[in-house]
Amino acid sequence: MTDAKKLQAEKLTETEAIERAKLGDEEAFHILYGLHKRRVYSLCLRMTGNPASAEDLTQEAFLQLFRKIATFRGESAFSTWLHRMSVNVVLMQLRKKSLPVVPIDETMEGEEESTVRKEPGAPDGRLAGAIDRLHLQRAVDELPPGYRTIFVLHDVEGYEHNEIAGIVGCSIGNSKSQLHKARIKLRELLRMNRAEKAGTGRTGKR
């Protein structure tokens, strides 16, 4: 049974769970955690690429959430509030470790970095049908941290460029540019991985 169905079965809405959590009800905390743990943990894991760090950050994100839950008034969706908090927790951690949140170095590189002319593969070698979620997951983990942050926030989490600009502290144009480069880099990684698996070693452009 999914978490949502469990909630329904217990006739307890998320709003009710939030109100009960404000009173200190353990079960309410547990329900809220159960509803959002996968999303938060997956976000932390994708942005750090490290399961142990992701678990620590997940714990920290929920802890911050529960400490502040009494102040939640419902102006925004609870999930929005939580996920924004989680992103901030992860970004703070990345900054502590001096990992680039915004890929400044990559931005300075030539635009040819992102062009198709370097792409290996043939016209009939499209990724659709050849790769799945797990392949993409591994490729995302291989992205440079800066690219990874923008890609995860936009393509995985669904933030808009103006939101990302506010979150990570870059311009909207920079966010768009880095997202494009991240996607191009992912395509390159996926095609290389596929070529290696096929044993062809094909790297040239069609």
Binding site: G24, F29, R38, R126, F151, V152, G158
Partner: protein, 215 residues
């Protein structure tokens, strides 16, 4: 439009749609069409990563411990707990996830001694199955317990019996657990019960204060 020109506008193409010129290029260039298809596929597949992973149970366990340490978890909502208290305390213990308390209890009992866990000066009685030595017969609450019960009785006469019963049950469990630990200092189960019993008694006090504070 050639490939280089198309690539220069590709981010905008993906974000905001296309012009007829760009579409014409895509129709005639399999390389650029493949690129667009791949990037769209990557973007679409990315959403599947949104909740793809599950954290280990250790995350909730650690979180729960921290929430308790900070007093954010109070176990049962205030307005729902009084009727619930009328059921057996054993049921209460069974419902709760208290495994994390075992090492804490063990450490506290070993380091500080059982006597430190008698802040309320509980009386003796009410034998329980796990007690090795016979316990005294008469239930007794401490003077402090009686003062709290008197306050509850004065303001909420209907709840007096519930509070008294719960207080006596908590004291009974405390005495039983203490007796068991006295007989076997390594009895982890009893150490857990002791901590639980004191938490339960503390909660009864908290509830009494909260309710009287509501008036």
């Amino acid at each position: 439009m050639n490939c280089q020109e198309f690539e220069s506008v590709l981010p905008d193409y993906l974000e905001s749609g296309h012009t007829s010129e760009q579409q014409a290029h895509l129709s005639s260039c399999s390389s650029c069409a493949g690129l667009v298809a791949d990037l769209n596929f990557i973007s679409a597949t990315a959403r599947q990563l949104q909740d793809a992973e599950e954290p280990s149970p250790a995350v909730w366990n650690a979180l729960e411990i921290q929430l308790r340490r900070e007093g954010l978890i109070r176990d049962i909502p205030i307005r729902e707990v009084v009727p619930a208290c009328s059921s057996s305390l054993l049921d209460f213990f069974r419902r709760r996830r208290t495994a994390w308390l075992v090492p804490v209890a063990a450490a506290l009992v070993i380091a500080a001694g059982v006597k430190l866990y008698r802040p309320f000066g509980a009386g003796d009685t009410n034998p329980v199955a796990r007690a090795v030595a016979p316990a005294p017969e008469t239930p007794a609450n401490s003077g402090e317990d009686e003062r709290v019960l008197s306050t509850v009785a004065a303001r909420f006469p209907a709840q007096q019996a519930n509070y008294r019963k719960n207080m006596e049950d908590a004291n009974s469990y405390i005495r039983d657990a203490e007796q068991s630990i006295k007989n076997d200092p390594n009895d982890v189960y009893s150490q857990e019960l002791l901590i639980n019993a004191y938490e339960q008694k503390q909660m009864i006090y908290d509830l009494a204060v909260d309710r009287t504070g509501e008036q």
